[in-house]
């Protein structure tokens, strides 16, 4: 190590809380990654706290300040870089062995008085892109981005073991999801169902996933009205809806659910239309008129259904159809996902519950099929599937799961891993997701969060020890993240590139060429 690269020296502390003195001229930051070269290996350490140190007593310093401030003089310390300095508290993240780039969890301290330097790209050679992996961002040391050190996660493992993206508004979560999906689009190894509540991923206006060079083959976009050229109309026939799709999403009483099941049993595929068009006073099986009225009112509100003047059932937001359209939409979507495509559903016109029901219908079918594939030994040939859901506590929150039965999202979170179906849950409120589910989410991409309670929930369920990272998480800027996962050797600080920059660099370019038409 040359003298110029030295940033500090170990002067004390204990395992997990090592104190170094910062070399003058350096400007260490919270989150900076440092390297302590040892015999045959090196330690990667991270700054988690900074404080002042001085050889002069506090009272003396305060008096000198008084002289400067009150008498207008400019008193200086003699050789100030020796007497006043910065102490950084650092923790070891990983030990890397020089010979084979093997990365292990550190179990010892760096040598006392060892000189440390800031990390460089050469120290991160172990971060190699594996086949079928997904790019998440660049390694970040403090606020410095090491662009040569890209972080790639093994796609099949990460997606089947569920991903949690905890973030508050404006910290770059949609940028992160778009970045991940952009790389998912590179191949057909991962199928994704995206419930896009803000219609922000496809890029209907401005850049989006549609600009990916393979979007034509691997991206499918469904929107309820006025689909752009090449996109699909999101219309689901009411015959695709079954009573269980409401479970864990809509609050129906036992009597109401019983009535719903009765109609399903009696009218089969056309049950919902029959139920909605039946006069409450003439309901079958002695179902009380009041029960029927409540069910009809709830369905009307949730699914946006109304009766037109000819007595036909119509959907206000055009997503549900009771007549001739949308018979195969669910099957088509499931088929696309099974082929490793990214399917985006623009649910921005739907209410919360309707959006979740649409997702429920598709995710249930997908999950059933994947279970069947496992039963016949065909699962290995299928791509891993991820279901991306925003505001995840709506379906996997403590109150929802205690109030209602499990819904498909909770089922996937609990047992989807066995069937190569995972959840990518995005939330501002990790604290309201049960610990059992949080613990199953084996990759967490933590963006900035100013709420202490939320940070505590994330830290408590992280795959690595983040107990000293509370302030670090609080101070994450937009686009900065920490990846805690069982698939990375240590909690990795990353910088997620701006999606617009990715599109600019790698997006499809229109090549004017003559087309032969015959």
């Amino acid at each position: 190590m040359d003298e110029f690269s030295i940033a500090g020296q170990v002067v004390g502390g204990k395992f997990g809380d090592i104190i170094i003195r910062q070399k003058s001229g350096n400007d260490l930051e919270i989150g900076d990654l440092m390297v302590s070269e040892e015999n045959g290996s090196f330690l990667i350490l991270q700054v988690f706290s900074l404080e002042y140190g001085s050889q002069i007593q506090d009272r003396m310093q305060q008096m000198m300040s008084g002289v400067n401030l009150e008498q207008g003089s400019d008193a200086q310390f003699y050789e100030p870089e020796f007497v006043n300095y910065v102490l950084a508290r650092i923790k070891p993240l990983a030990r890397v062995y020089n010979e084979n780039c093997e990365v292990k969890i550190p179990k010892s301290l760096p040598s006392f008085f060892n000189k440390l330097r800031l990390i460089t790209k050469d120290d991160l050679k172990f971060l190699q892109k594996e086949k079928d992996s997904i790019f998440v961002g660049y390694i970040r040391s403090g606020s410095k981005v090491i662009k040569e050190a890209e972080v790639w996660l093994p796609a099949e493992d990460v997606f089947s073991h569920h991903v949690l993206i905890p973030a508050t508004t404006g910290r770059g979560k949609s940028n992160l999801v778009k970045t991940i999906l952009w790389h998912v689009l590179d191949s057909n190894k991962v199928g994704a169902l995206v419930l896009d509540a803000h219609d922000e991923y496809f890029g209907r206006i401005g850049v989006g996933l549609k600009d990916h060079p393979r979007a034509k083959d691997n991206l499918v976009y469904y929107t309820p009205s006025n689909p752009p050229v090449g996109a699909n109309r999101l219309t689901i026939n009411l015959q695709s809806i079954r009573p269980e799709h409401f479970e864990g999403i809509v609050d129906f009483s036992d009597a109401q659910f019983q009535a719903i099941r009765t109609y399903h049993w009696k009218s089969k595929d056309g049950w919902l239309t029959t139920l909605m068009l039946t006069d409450p006073d003439s309901a079958t099986d002695q179902i009380a008129a009041s029960t029927m009225s409540v069910i009809q009112r709830k369905m009307r509100l949730i699914l946006g259904l109304t009766k037109d003047e000819e007595g036909h059932l119509v959907s206000k937001h055009e997503v549900f159809d009771s007549a001739t359209k949308g018979f195969t939409t669910v099957d088509d979507i499931v088929q696309d996902i099974e082929q490793g495509k990214v399917v985006i559903l623009d649910t921005s016109r739907l209410g919360d519950e309707a959006e979740l029901i649409v997702g429920n219908i598709i995710a249930s079918k997908l999950f059933e099929k994947y279970k069947a594939y496992k039963a016949v030994g065909e699962l290995a040939r299928k791509p891993v599937v991820t279901v991306i859901i925003e505001e995840a506590p709506r379906v996997i929150g403590v109150d929802v799961l205690t109030r209602n039965n499990d819904n498909i999202y909770a089922t996937i979170a609990k047992e989807g891993r066995k069937f190569k179906v995972g959840l990518m849950a995005i939330t501002q409120l990790s604290s309201v997701i049960p610990r059992t589910i949080l613990a199953n989410m084996n990759t967490k991409i933590i963006l900035g969060n100013e709420m202490k309670q939320e940070r505590e929930a994330i830290i408590a369920s992280a795959s690595q020890d983040l107990s000293e990272d509370d302030r670090n998480i609080a101070s994450l800027d937009k686009g900065e993240a920490i990846i805690s996962s069982i698939f990375v050797p240590f909690a990795m600080p990353v910088k997620i590139p701006l999606f617009e920059d990715i599109v600019k660099e790698k997006g499809s370019k229109v090549r004017p060429e003559k087309t032969k038409v015959f």
Partner: protein, 418 residues
């Protein structure tokens, strides 16, 4: 004013003589109807023929009928379908165009700069403005729509018709149809009528910006499954459209084709003997005289080979009882004992190797060259020989004989070895 819309006639598809007759009769009846109803023009958006150059018999009756239509002063507007298209204008459609019996409506004004600008063909009598695209195999025509300059078409005033040949996913009524489909949004908006081909069932729907998207379906059959649908009561025919400056009425004209009997057998968890027994009982219980008999056997047998199900005997007896045709579908009949396991690969050759390798373990032969890696190599070679196309101008019988000889050669056998 009135026009007729037919599609997916698939002339030349039928191999059985009785079915060929029905195919011809239905086609002639449809065009006779058009003449007698004095339509102003006829639209045929693709798959008029089953192949680009059908046998002479088919060409002969098709030309004769189109001459009649031409002499009746009825223009016929067409696009290629996925079955009868030819990238080098080497289709019998082009012959019909050349002698003026029909007109292709695809008129490209410009296709430079990554855009395709279409021009309208104007029907001289009614002033209807018509344009459209042909359908290509495996959805390759999708590129046309992606590059189409739709603005110029959408702003055009007047009564407009768009011809296309392709499945529209928004109109699918059954899951599991693997044929290529495209979203409706690929078609230009604001036409009065969208004359579709490719979907074999009558379907008429309207959407925002797309009024009257219509498939008449095949008037008889273009796939084997169509005959099965017919036997279950699927209506076949064509569409008549009344219009002025807007569509006034769209109606379906049903054409009778023939009488059917269908026998369906569920082979799941059964053995060949029991299936044969049910097959015999069911065939004895029908009156097959002058009827097309469809036999459909689906499911997974518990043991034995699918060939143990005695089809030929049943077929023979039905013909003796004067069935006009017997169509047997056992594509979805499998056996637990001999199930083909699928396998993936990066390319065709790799997929073939992997499928053979996955499945060859099921075979038990004494001959070493039929099992293991040798067996896989032999199977691949045999498949390659069997996949050889016919030579130019080669007669069908010569082609069959050559392929048979080559295949036997691969197996190291001679014809009299049996």
């Amino acid at each position: 004013m009135l026009f007729a819309h037919l599609s997916d006639i698939h002339l030349g598809f039928q191999k059985h003589e009785a079915l060929q007759k029905i195919e011809q009769t239905v086609f002639e009846k449809a065009l006779d109807e058009c003449i007698s109803r004095k339509v102003d023009f006829i639209l045929i958006p693709g798959d008029l023929f089953h192949v680009n150059i059908p046998e002479m018999r088919v060409q002969k009756f098709a030309f004769a009928k189109f001459r009649q239509v031409h002499e009746a002063g009825i223009p016929v507007y067409v696009v290629y379908g996925s079955h009868d298209s030819s990238p080098v204008s080497n289709s019998v459609i082009d012959l019909l165009v050349a002698i003026g019996y029909i007109s292709k409506v695809t008129k490209v004004k410009d296709s430079e700069d990554g855009k395709i600008v279409l021009d309208f063909l104007v029907d001289p009598k009614t002033g209807a403005k018509i344009c459209g695209f042909s359908g290509l195999k495996v959805g390759k025509d999708r590129e046309y729509y992606e590059k189409l300059d739709r603005d110029s078409l959408e702003v055009e005033s007047g009564f407009k018709i768009f011809l296309f040949h392709g499945g529209i996913s928004d109109m699918k009524t059954e899951a599991g149809i693997e044929r290529d489909h495209m979203p409706l949004s690929l078609l230009p908006k604001n036409f009065d009528y969208y004359a579709g081909g490719h979907m074999h069932k009558w379907n008429h729907q309207s959407f925002d910006g797309y009024s009257n998207v219509v498939y008449p379906g095949t008037p008889f059959a273009g796939f084997h499954s169509d005959l099965e649908e017919n036997s279950k009561g699927q209506k076949r025919g064509f569409v008549l459209v009344e219009f002025e400056d807007k569509i006034k009425d769209v109606s379906f004209v049903e054409l009778e084709n023939t009488s059917y009997e269908i026998i369906e057998i569920d082979a799941n968890n059964r053995k060949a003997d029991s299936i044969n027994k049910e097959l015999l009982e069911k065939t004895q219980g029908i009156d097959p005289v002058n009827k097309v008999v469809i036999i459909k056997i689906d499911g997974e047998m518990t043991s034995g080979k699918t060939s143990d199900v005695d089809i030929s005997g049943i077929r023979e007896s039905l013909y003796q009882r004067e069935a006009s045709a017997v169509e047997i579908s056992k594509n979805r009949l499998t056996s637990l004992e001999y199930r083909i396991t699928e396998a993936k690969g990066e390319n065709k050759a790799e997929i073939e190797t992997n499928v053979f390798s996955e499945n060859i373990g099921q075979l038990q032969f004494k001959a070493k060259n039929l099992i293991g890696d040798l067996g896989v190599a032999l199977a691949k070679k045999l498949l390659s020989e069997l996949g050889q196309p016919a030579l130019e101008n080669e007669k069908k019988a010569d082609y069959a004989s050559r392929i048979r000889q080559d295949a036997l050669g691969v197996l190291g056998l001679k014809l009299d070895d049996s």
